[in-house]
Amino acid sequence: MDWTFIFQQSISSAVGVNAIIFALAAIGLNMHFGYTGLLNFGQAGFLAVGAYTVAVLVVNFDVSVWIAFLAGIFAAILLALLLGVPTLRLRADYLAIVTIATAEIIRQVARSVTLREYFGGSDGITGKFGADFFAINPFPAGLDLPLLRYTPNDLWVVVVGWGLVVIFVFFTYLMMRSPWGRVIKAIREDEEAVRSLGKNVYLYKMQSLVLGGVVGAFAGFVYAISRQSVQPDNYSTALTFFAYAVLILGGAARVLGPVVGAVIFWFLLVFIEQTLRGLVNIDKIPDWLMNQNQVGQVRFMLVGLGLMLLMIYRPQGIFGDKKELALDARA
């Protein structure tokens, strides 16, 4: 077995593009779910809106990618308002239902035959829409270290992506230690009590939904630019639930929770996959038990098992505070 290769793949993935996408998606969810207590099950919709806005505007309308990014942020704000206006005055579960449905509607519209001309149907949009972005890549050589290997384009995306992660983590940190963050966390605990103290709960929930949604759109930008293509089925509900897995793994309502969660999640996913592949290749795992084609599914089973064990023995996540959770259970 080639352990160097396995670790190289795992580590490159743990700090690579996928980890960045999921870290950003989970930072947004952390704002919604971790701090405000909003059950947003449609984070994939915010990523899709961000990704598709960039792809459609650059490929179909020849807009500069920078303006397309701005438009993507604007689109995510609109989506948040659209979701929030009818639901945020109601009980928490209404938002959950509406967001999961909306994310699916967005995906189905994007892959529809009728709008194929604009969104490319189920094939999505492929093209050089990141050209402007890669044109200013200061790393023409890429990276080739023993345990870390990136192409020039990937390296540029990874550097900018981690920059975004740092910015949004710092933003969350600043917001959550301010009186604004205190109101947000109080809403998670009991919104009626917050209302009784004269705070406009609806407004705060809307602000949270918009902020987390915009961070989600940035995850969509990274997704689209890194692959130079958008495909509707990448933005299915599974994306949202993986983002939740990342958030809970790292610890909800912890500033660094989503980042740690994303890194560990992608390290484990790739490490398990590559190890299994290696074992199948050298016949340590016999063919009747598992073949090469089944490795992809088995790794998710094992990661799922790991998450179950985590929930049982460390339900607060890796960074969470056990005391807080115990208090919650008593309440």
Binding site: D190, E192, V194, L197, L327
Partner: protein, 291 residues
């Protein structure tokens, strides 16, 4: 609280003001802070609240009593905007409040607590308190990012919160999670937090429920203090001894209506009140009742 020898306490003022008020349901008060008219709330076929007219005297402690299901808490919810009536009007300091959102009601100076305490568990006791303060600059989404804009005010609020916590003997718990408090301490915290809003009218929904006797005495003291500091108190309570001890005026509700009013000493002997609590035919034998 120390008083100059010849000054009158707020209690004496409140009692004097209510001295010549007739003891009939819906009677007019000399200086009402809340006036409610024809407030009706139905849940399906059940009329939970049907208050024709009621006034709450400013500066006094008014108790709202009545048997279970009398509509006391529903009436609380309606007055504070947490529930919407089928019809009715009411004013607070002359401002019409029908249809006003609960957070705006609170900002006007009418702050309530809840029957089931709503301590914000995963916030520290101190943060629970600080949340109550009004006009916080750092609660705006943009200013939140720049601590220099709100740090001074935050320090001021923290000082005010610590003073209140000391008064309520919760200062030692300031940095603990609110969930670590006992049931009675949560009641204290909720009352103290309501005071951070600097209200004119404090509405307490069963402040003494589930509180041990020692803490009850301290709660009673705090409620009397509110009056001495110039606030008006309206509270719901079941325990008649406590009502007698602290209230200046008692309003009795039964089946959604105000059935009696009066000072605590006399209202308990009012036949309408006895009927409300024990049933209209409680003093008859079974045979008499059937006839």
């Amino acid at each position: 609280m120390t008083l100059a020898p010849n000054s009158t306490t707020k209690k004496e003022v409140a009692v004097a003001a209510l001295k010549n008020v007739a003891t009939i349901p819906g009677v007019k008060k000399p200086d009402p802070i809340v006036i409610a008219d024809n407030v009706v709330r139905k849940f399906g076929g059940l009329t939970a609240v049907d208050v024709e007219h009621v006034e709450i005297q400013r500066g006094a402690i008014t108790a709202l009593i009545g048997p279970n299901g009398a509509g006391k808490t529903t009436f609380f919810n309606l007055l504070t905007g947490f529930d919407k009536p089928d019809s009715g009007n009411w004013t607070f300091n002359g401002t019409a409040l029908a249809g006003v959102a609960p957070h705006k009601v609170a900002r006007l100076g009418m702050v309530r607590t809840f029957q089931l305490t709503k301590a914000l568990f995963r916030l520290s006791v101190l943060d629970n308190m600080r949340l109550g303060a009004r006009h916080q600059k750092g609660e705006g989404i943009l200013r939140a990012l720049i601590p220099t804009l709100w740090k001074a005010q935050e320090n001021q609020i923290t000082k005010q919160a610590m003073e209140l916590l000391t008064r309520f003997k919760l200062d030692a718990k300031a940095d603990d999670f609110a969930a670590a408090l006992s049931g009675g301490q949560r009641k204290l915290l909720e009352m103290a937090r309501a005071l951070m809003v600097e209200p004119e009218l404090v509405m307490l929904d069963e402040p003494m429920a589930g509180v041990n006797p020692a803490l009850t005495q301290s709660l009673l003291g705090h409620i009397k203090d509110l009056r001495e500091q110039g606030m008006t108190v309206l509270f719901v309570e079941h325990d008649m001894d406590m009502v007698r001890d602290i209230s200046d005026w008692v309003i009795v509700m039964a089946q959604g209506k105000v059935v009696a009013e009066g000072p605590p000493e006399s209202v308990m002997s009012n036949p309408a009140v006895i009927d409300a609590y024990l049933g209209a035919h409680h003093d008859q034998t079974l045979e008499e009742g059937e006839n």
